[in-house]
Symmetry: D2
Subunit: 342 residues, 4 copies
């Protein structure tokens, strides 16, 4: 059994990690921390876990995380970079679900996140945990930067085109739509039910923190910097990301075949038949990315549709997938639950 700790378990990625780990046959969660809710039983905050999770939130200072084999950070940005190094130096493996270790260019990170980085040396040693691209590196990693939700959907959608040089990488467009849980479980006015329901809007058009992360990933696939316009939107649903991607064709190919070949061996990427339109609910609660590729009217622009559950393949599920790889387990271990539809 892998002894697992969770730092910051009161948000949506935290409770989703608990849901997945409590059903994972090779894991025992031994500690979960929360500064604000120390002492509260987890199941009294999240009644869905009643009878199945007996832990109480512990004060971070008191929790003995160093005896864990692996610690997940489900904290706001800026926490893991302060607390993870001590654990890493003690030999504990760490998966950070926040953004602290995602951007290799520390100056760029500091610009977008508005703070000084506390441990640039660990940024260099972190592995970006998108298994479909970096599986080999994940195997030997001690520190994983778990990808953001938008970046997962967008990178998996563009991968077969960009890696093979099939499209013009100077003018990629990612029009992405997220359910409201992507904004976290914070008491903020703009994500109140009465503000976000029966409403649709774009946000962050001048610049969103996931832009440099996506640009970095696509650039690595392409082997050169890419041009990307990224527009995120808030849509009135709880879970789900739908990325609609546009790319100018650079070289003719059988694009459907290219997608199918690229993902033929991937357990968690499902390429739909031609002419398909994946729905976010078809992946609700599951660690799956479903993708369709279109060439409307036979024109010069490809349209890729990529859907994930932002809390699973876009956060906690992908973190568990990375854990499985790091610990030599079957990659699908504990991640085979079927999507919930309707």
């Amino acid at each position: 059994m892998i002894k697992v700790g969770i730092v910051g378990g009161t948000g949506y990625t935290g409770v989703e990690l608990l849901r997945l780990l409590a059903q994972h046959p090779d894991v025992r969660v031994t500690a979960i921390t929360s500064r604000g809710d120390a002492g509260t039983p987890v199941a009294s905050m999240f009644p869905s876990l009643r009878g199945r999770v007996d832990l109480a939130f512990e004060d971070p200072a008191a929790a003995d995380l160093k005896q864990c084999d692996l610690v997940f950070f489900a904290t706001p940005n800026g926490i893991a970079m302060q607390q993870a190094p001590a654990l890493l130096e003690a030999g504990v493996r760490v998966i950070d679900l926040a953004a602290d270790f995602r951007i290799r260019d520390v100056a760029e990170w500091e610009k977008w996140y508005g703070m000084k980085h506390a441990c640039p040396e660990w940024v260099a040693r972190a592995v970006y945990g998108l298994p479909e691209v970096y599986r080999e590196q994940v195997k030997g990693a001690q520190l994983i930067a778990n990808p953001g939700c938008y970046p997962t959907a967008v990178q998996l959608g563009f991968l077969p085109l960009v890696k093979a040089g099939l499209v013009d990488c100077g003018s990629l467009i990612a029009d992405a739509k997220s359910g409201v849980s992507g904004a976290g479980r914070k008491a903020e006015t703009h994500i109140l039910f009465s503000e976000a329901a029966d409403n649709f809007k774009a946000y962050g058009v001048p610049g969103h923190r996931h832009l440099p992360e996506i640009r970095q990933g696509l650039g690595q696939m392409a082997g050169a910097p890419v041009g990307l316009t990224f527009v995120p939107h808030l849509t009135p649903m709880i879970r789900g990301i739908h990325a609609t991607l546009y790319a100018r064709i650079g070289r003719e190919a059988d694009f459907q075949a290219a997608f199918e070949a690229c993902y033929a061996a991937e357990p968690f990427v499902d390429v739909l038949p031609a002419k398909s339109h994946p729905e976010t609910r078809s992946v609700r609660s599951a660690n799956v990315c479903r993708i369709a590729v279109h060439r409307p009217q036979g024109g010069d622009t490809l349209v890729v549709l990529s859907v994930i559950d932002n809390l699973v393949k876009g956060a906690a599920g992908q973190a568990v997938q990375n854990m499985n790889i790091m610990f030599g387990l079957d990659e699908t271990r504990g991640l085979c639950q079927l999507p919930l539809l309707p």
Copy 2:
């Protein structure tokens, strides 16, 4: 492995059965029928099942259901009573998720359902599959009448009070609210998104088909006919039933303790601590009923709050629970997935 057939798999109870059975370690679904969609792969209608369910819908006439150990009917009312007898006579066990075998008084059934019953003799032999009340009978049953969704939530909420004679059974009130999936996957105007979203209404106040079913169940608990006012409502969510129950106190008792004692050994009924308010999402996708009992202001009226997922404990999950009991499996087999929250 139990060989299972499903008749009528294109509705919500059908796809939910598939979701649960595809993850059940002791079951193999060998046939699924649909008159209208014969030939269609199940996973092309329900993409959530892609890669996990390889069956195609078969024409009911062609399907060899008699070689199954168990057949579930997830059909509209009036179908099972016509098709189940041939299977039953061939020794196959049957669980009907519709209403054909729920009401023991056939004349009463015919009045509420507006049709002649095709096999009254099997009504008499059917067992009403509410395990918390009829577990022993379920063990030996060949034919199970799986309870309705409202009746499950309401009966489990009233059971500890009515069986022990703690309340006045002449004036019980059940004010119940259902998610829209309870109305099924039928193309009807009133359950369109644009009609049912951002809206709330009662329906069937003059008389709803679940009224005689609930009255029958409560009457059996009480040992005498009960007086019941039942008002169902449609609420803009996909899954979930919330029953708010009102009963006049007949005899003083520790009501919280009565609930806890009644359900102490039940794997799928969770009595919350005093002062709690169960949420429907705390049971979303899970085979659980959560219940709280209140005595507001110390008055003479008890208020019971009872929540289930209408498609799980209110339909497919309870059917699988009955299957487990019938086949001597652990009752929780295949039913331990955690609720999806948020």
Copy 3:
């Protein structure tokens, strides 16, 4: 033109008042205050008002409210009782949309609202602004306590029965469901989209602040104290209250006729034909209460269904209706917009 001021305009009742008053032909809003947002143009907080409302929020200390003919308080509980007296003494009329002046028994108010009342003398002089009951008193009032949303729906639903002594007033039950905007525009976790969507729950069952207000109103109609069980619920829609009311018949009558007679002359109460089920969306955005009365199965219990838009007939619309009465205008002035459906 009536010169109107609004204190506390950044919540939902505030913006709804602005929507109605900006379209009222006899009103000019001359000042709107907000402690936290002084200086912000109203239309930059609420873009729906762009081009139609040119005011900016003013600091309460700076606003010259005494030159207004009427000031609406759309503030949290406990503010109006502190700020209204100075205005009242200066001859300004006041309508408080919060609860400060609703409960005549000051000790009772202090118990439920957890604070000392700042001006009990004005409680005695306030008129409870439910025009269908207190229209004559409203005409001459200087201070109106605008009713709560639940109390409006519940009192209008019970009025024809209780006033005429047709039901047993010792055991009334009000099972009420509210859209989330009823909880206000406060940054609180439990009303986040991802918490409140696709979910249903009761709350405040041990005791809700609207209980004493409803009990007071029903008691005045009945001429004696009443017994009331009140259970509010949160339902995933933005606007709307649906009250389902239960009463034991005390005296036989034509109940449909009693409702129609009671409300025959009322411009804002619509009694539906027998067997009807009013939907909350049928009153969305309009100052209307629609009501249906049922006697299920011809039994001894009546069921009344009463729907309002909580922000209109349950708050801002009713306040404008009171204003119209106070200033001798046609009661429907500025309140004739049709409901928005779908």
Copy 4:
């Protein structure tokens, strides 16, 4: 008073027309027809109209529409082209809210709509009713082709850029999201609440009927054919369209100023300040299009955000706007109601 008839009043554009026309000071609706619901009072199908609309649906054959000054067709595609000519020849003016007269190239229309056109001669005489582009022609028109909902949002968003030749018109992209009411009030499975709620998907990517309509309009603005990729999506809200438009800059300019200048005199187009993100709810129930233009990161791609209420500026409201222009009324007559927020 303008005597108005409505053909096909049982859908969402029909009931929305009724809502607007019942409040229009210069209009009297004298007839409304429905083949399937003849005899039914309008207010019994749409209770929101109780007490305000006294008409009953008439059989189309029986209705005397020739005495109307104006007839609106709120029918499915293919009806107006059969029934309008007789009215037009009798001198009645006609506004068709469906697509029968929108595409000037009849062969193109027949390809996309899959039927033979019944009156190509009237296509040539019809005016495309987008007042911001064709106001002068609308003034003298006898037959108006009222634009589609997506085409309205997309054309108004692109107009200032395309007309002035500021962008590369060979590779325009319109990523559009619609509320579910855009699919009409038809009993179809895919728009059931339980299918469309908590879900997001693209549809019609290979080709949607609004594509040729938008392409025609943009081509007329540009004076040459344009290249357009159009991807519509279904989003879980009732009303609203959000179009996110992408265009490569062709010529440097002050794009914010260009938008403001283009729409300075328009009563129903609102250009937001720089850096804004319009929300669909900011136009809910109102005949307004709100637009923002962005140039993310100072790059070579412009992003335009354009929102409308699909049933108002995208259908019934724009039809009333056209009526006002045709009859020489103030263009805003009857269209000044404020948006409903929240």
